[in-house]
Assembly symmetry: C2
Homo-oligomer: 296 residues x 2
């Protein structure tokens, strides 16, 4: 086959490994109206240089007000790899601006590097909210994002308790140093920081209930549809709710390089790219963590 | 009549003027399950010393974790003047801990001093959220709290636009230096800071819509019942929602002393305490601003 063309300033990248994220499942269900090749978690090889890379997923214009302050992730004219108007990583090749790429240090395997993007999203919590080392943090949800957030916060030195429903998944957080808790009745008004990573309206309501006065709820996972929320405790207890999306790659790469996050335990299965439909079906099964697509 | 007794550390205070707040109307409708004398905005005279005072409304225990960090307003064991387990200001006398009292500077009239409490709640926005002088702020709502917030932010040097529906009320914000805007279609994703002071679910949704990426919505007025909210834009645009309640009295007193806030324009009518029922009815009429109760 002929290689896809890449525009000036763009690198052509051969995909090595790619990860299926919940967002990909949602795109498949028709959310966001995306058509084309999904996939935004990957490791790859720059065709022109053989450099192993990961790539930031937001393609920014470079001249809007957000680009001007170094927040290309919020560029008003952005496209997003595999999500908004830019073909994604579930393919043999992809293109990205060279400025979006980060070399993968040799300590990080092709497969581990797939986690840089979601781990950067976990690190974003610490970029947005000043959580001191030693602070009490509750993480709600033991899915992929919850486990990455929990491990990131443990590596940061926070005092983490993960609330979930799956012994096996919670074990990953426990090994990282988190307390784990399976309960239908978590403590009320206890935590100065609560990370909502269940993706459910009930999880968000629970998060508000668990947060102490002047505390912060970080909304880390997308909740579909409208959420019905009682704002009275938010106002009376002066709670902050902070939406959180993509993060910088540098801290995520550094955490993986230093082996501070165990992502290998989070891989449920691998499929060749040619079996992507089966891989998607597997990723959608309850209890499954990361599904990796391999390209050759 | 005999004077009410006051416990050790408490001052007996003769009420001079009191203000009716929306919270009082809500108490009357049965919210919060309060029974007894409402009223938490007042100026008074300490019986023992003839000192004119205003009083912070949260009675704190002094030894819980919030009291320990100087946040008695969030005391876990608090009672609240005229709201939670402590008789309020719509009476000839009230009692408050001496430590809750602030002398009224001579530049401030008895009537103006009634606004110290709600003005402190407006000032709380600046204690919680770092709004730079010159920052663009939208205030939604031209009721009492919206107008106090708008004036406070103008005095702070912010670039304030107030969105409301009443020419006459908005005029008060305009005189303070705010832009005013009557529209059903305010700009989307424009403001780094939006203060929600409409007290309506539609207002909160509008506030989120008007906030730019990485911006902050301050929830200043209580919204009754559950609010149905789409969290996707909150997460994608990394918006923060900050609940905001009572504030410190000192900055509010200073603003009034320096004549930086026009509260006199916000007084709709005065009633003697003996006509409190009529005063409440008037306060509940649409378009009415502050109703003052006078005691003797």
């Amino acid at each position: 086959m002929s290689l896809p063309a890449s525009a000036p300033g763009f690198a052509l990248i051969r995909v090595l490994r790619a990860g299926i994220c919940n967002t990909d499942l949602e795109l498949q269900r028709g959310y966001y109206g995306f058509r084309g090749v999904p996939g935004h978690e990957f490791s790859g090889l720059v065709v022109a240089s053989d450099q192993r890379v990961v790539g930031e997923i937001n393609l920014s214009c470079g001249h809007c007000e957000f680009c001007a302050i170094g927040l290309g992730r919020h560029c008003l004219n952005r496209s997003v790899l595999g999500i908004v108007k830019h073909p994604g990583a579930f393919a043999e090749y992809l293109t990205l601006p060279e400025s979006n790429l980060h070399p993968i240090p040799e300590e990080i395997s092709d497969e581990e590097a797939v986690f840089v993007e979601p781990l950067a999203a976990a690190c974003e919590v610490l970029d947005q909210v000043p959580i001191a080392s030693g602070a009490e943090v509750a993480v709600l949800g033991d899915g992929k994002l919850g486990l990455l957030v929990a491990q990131t916060l443990c590596a940061h030195g926070a005092n983490v308790t993960v609330f979930g429903h799956h012994e096996g998944k919670l074990e990953i957080a426990r090994r990282a140093g988190a307390r784990i808790c399976i309960t239908d009745n978590p403590p009320a008004a206890k935590y100065p920081f609560v990370v909502e990573a269940t993706g459910s309206a009930a999880g968000l309501r629970q998060a508000v209930r668990m947060t102490r006065a002047r505390g912060t709820v970080i909304l880390k996972s997308t909740i579909h549809g409208e959420v019905s929320l009682d704002t009275a405790p938010v106002i009376v207890n002066e709670i902050s709710l902070v939406g959180s999306r993509c993060g910088r790659f540098a801290p995520a790469i550094e955490l993986l390089r230093q082996r501070k996050i165990d992502v290998n335990a989070m891989i449920s299965r691998r499929f060749p790219l040619s079996e992507a439909p089966a891989a998607f079906a597997e990723a959608a099964r309850p209890g499954v963590l990361k599904i990796i697509l391999t390209n050759g």
